[in-house]
């Protein structure tokens, strides 16, 4: 496996009302190309801040973040990590197709190219709908296509299915695995759904509450496709569950 992302001693704090608020505490994490990593932690514990740093939306001063050996803050101009936000953030004045095309660089705006992504996320027939005319799951799939057309090295998913109902969520998780079968993009998912993390990930990182530090790491060695009702699945789930709540009961 070749390493793609290396995070070393990354810490981050904000000033809130002149008081220093630590959000990330000495994060060390290596991710291989094509890996699917989930980060589970309580809401507001700072895990989203980690994604924002990777997305270039907020800076960092302590520690280092290297993608393919290059320090992220020095190569901020090239889009390497595309974020999928919890609210899809599609432009409401653009159709599904136009939104996907908006993610493209000028040089490859060919019809076939866009069509292939529309097919990949199963949105054929909805190309000309506006975001308010489609369901939340479809909108999120459009957002994923809009990110994938940029051929990002890492796809950052910030609780992308948090606003969807439970059944659509499961559909979307299948969809993500389906997309991954076309396209082996590295994915980092932030979630607080243990099921979702086990179903999708190669590795699961459990973070402590603010400031977020890596508390424990689990390798998910279940064969795919995974069944939520399998005994191994359940065993891992209860292990993570216990870890999770032990961390916070102290």
């Amino acid at each position: 496996m070749n390493e793609q992302l290396r995070i070393e001693h990354l810490s981050k704090s904000f000033l809130v009302n002149n008081e220093k608020l630590d959000v990330l505490d000495d994060i060390n994490l290596n991710i291989d190309k094509g890996e699917f990593i989930s980060i589970i932690g309580h809401s507001g514990c700072g895990k989203s801040t980690l994604l924002k740093i990777l997305a270039g939306l907020t800076g960092y001063t302590v520690g280092s973040v290297k993608i393919d050996g290059k320090e992220l803050r020095d190569s901020a101009d090239s889009a390497k990590c595309c974020m999928i936000f919890q609210d899809h953030r599609l432009l409401p004045w653009k159709t599904v197709r136009q939104n996907i095309a908006f993610g493209l660089y000028e040089d490859d705006k060919s019809e076939e190219n866009i069509n292939s992504y529309i097919e990949m996320v199963n949105l054929k027939g909805f190309e000309n709908a506006y975001p308010h005319q489609i369901s939340g799951g479809m909108a999120q799939r459009t957002a994923i296509a809009r990110a994938l057309v940029r051929k990002p090295e890492i796809l950052l998913l910030d609780e992308p299915f948090g606003a969807l109902d439970a059944l659509t969520r499961i559909e979307m998780q299948k969809e993500v695995l389906n997309i991954r079968s076309y396209n082996h993009t590295t994915m980092i998912l932030v979630t607080h759904d243990i099921d979702e993390a086990i179903y999708l990930s190669d590795r699961i990182i459990v973070t402590s509450n603010r400031p977020a530090a890596i508390k424990k790491e689990f390798k998910v060695e279940l064969s795919r496709p995974r069944m939520r009702t399998d005994s191994d699945f359940m065993r891992l789930k209860s292990k993570i569950f216990r870890e999770f709540f032990d961390t916070y009961s102290k």
């Binding site: 270039g56 953030r89 908006f102 506006y130």
Partner: protein, 251 residues
């Protein structure tokens, strides 16, 4: 059925107003100079149409309104976009514009007459002034209120500045711009009627003033209704255009 009901409900208040008018003017308690009967308005309408006077007046006023409106809208949009995008431009102009905005357009009439005379120019400028402010302010707020979540997306996806402007800020501001366009249209009619009362030889404002001098109260009321109808039509067409342009919007 619901559609018919919704449309019918709009006519309840006008019908009540006309009924009150008919009762009051027919009661014999008021002189026809103060409260002319509804029938006299009808007679005035027929006269104004057959003599062609109404069309001349409308044509003169609409032409002036359109000229002033277009100038005011263009200036409002250009300044609004620049001030909405560039903080420096906003800082440069906002204080001055806010001070000038407090001056009612009508207060400019004496100066405008001194500077450009009593011809069309002074009226066109007056209307442009009245239209400029609502278009400007709504364009600025439209741009600045485009959700920051889209800008965050644009920053992460490294969208070019040009594309942020053309594909995010400007389309996002369109609904607010239309509010400005509609408010501006109302201002334009107010300004033209006031301006024509002071210096004109034709036009709806002129006609109201002339009719007042001749004690033709019926004609005053007829032209007031006319202004209301034309203003309403303008707003109706602007709303139609808005619906087409912003068809992406959720109802």
């Amino acid at each position: 059925m619901k559609l018919i009901y919704n449309n019918a409900i709009k006519f309840i208040v006008p019908v009540i107003l006309v009924v009150i008018w008919v009762i009051l003017s027919g009661s014999g308690k008021f002189s026809p100079l103060v409260m002319p009967p509804v029938s006299s308005i009808w007679k005035e309408l027929v006269n104004s149409i057959t003599s062609g006077m109404m069309f001349t007046d409308l044509f003169v006023s609409i032409l002036i309104v359109l000229r002033g409106y277009i100038i005011g809208v263009l200036l409002g949009l250009v300044f609004g976009v620049l001030m909405g995008i560039f903080t420096k431009v906003n800082n440069l102009f906002s204080g001055t514009i806010n001070a000038f905005r407090q001056i009612p357009p009508l207060a400019w009439i004496p100066l405008l007459i001194l500077w450009v005379g009593i011809g069309d120019a002074s009226k066109v400028i007056l209307i442009a002034l009245g239209v400029f402010y609502p278009v400007l302010l709504n364009t600025i707020s439209g741009i600045s209120e485009v959700s920051t979540s889209y800008l965050e997306f644009a920053r992460n996806y490294k969208i070019k500045k040009k594309d942020i402007l053309l594909h995010i800020l400007l389309p996002g501001a369109v609904p607010s711009v239309f509010v400005g366009l509609r408010l501006g249209a109302g201002q334009a009619w107010m300004a033209v009627v006031a301006a024509e009362m002071i210096a004109a030889t034709a036009g709806v404002g002129y006609r109201i003033n002339a009719a007042r001098n001749l004690m033709q109260t019926g004609q005053v009321i007829l032209y007031m209704i006319l202004i209301g109808v034309v203003g309403g039509l303008m707003d109706y067409f602007l709303r139609k255009i808005e619906k087409r342009v912003v068809r992406w919007r959720q109802d």
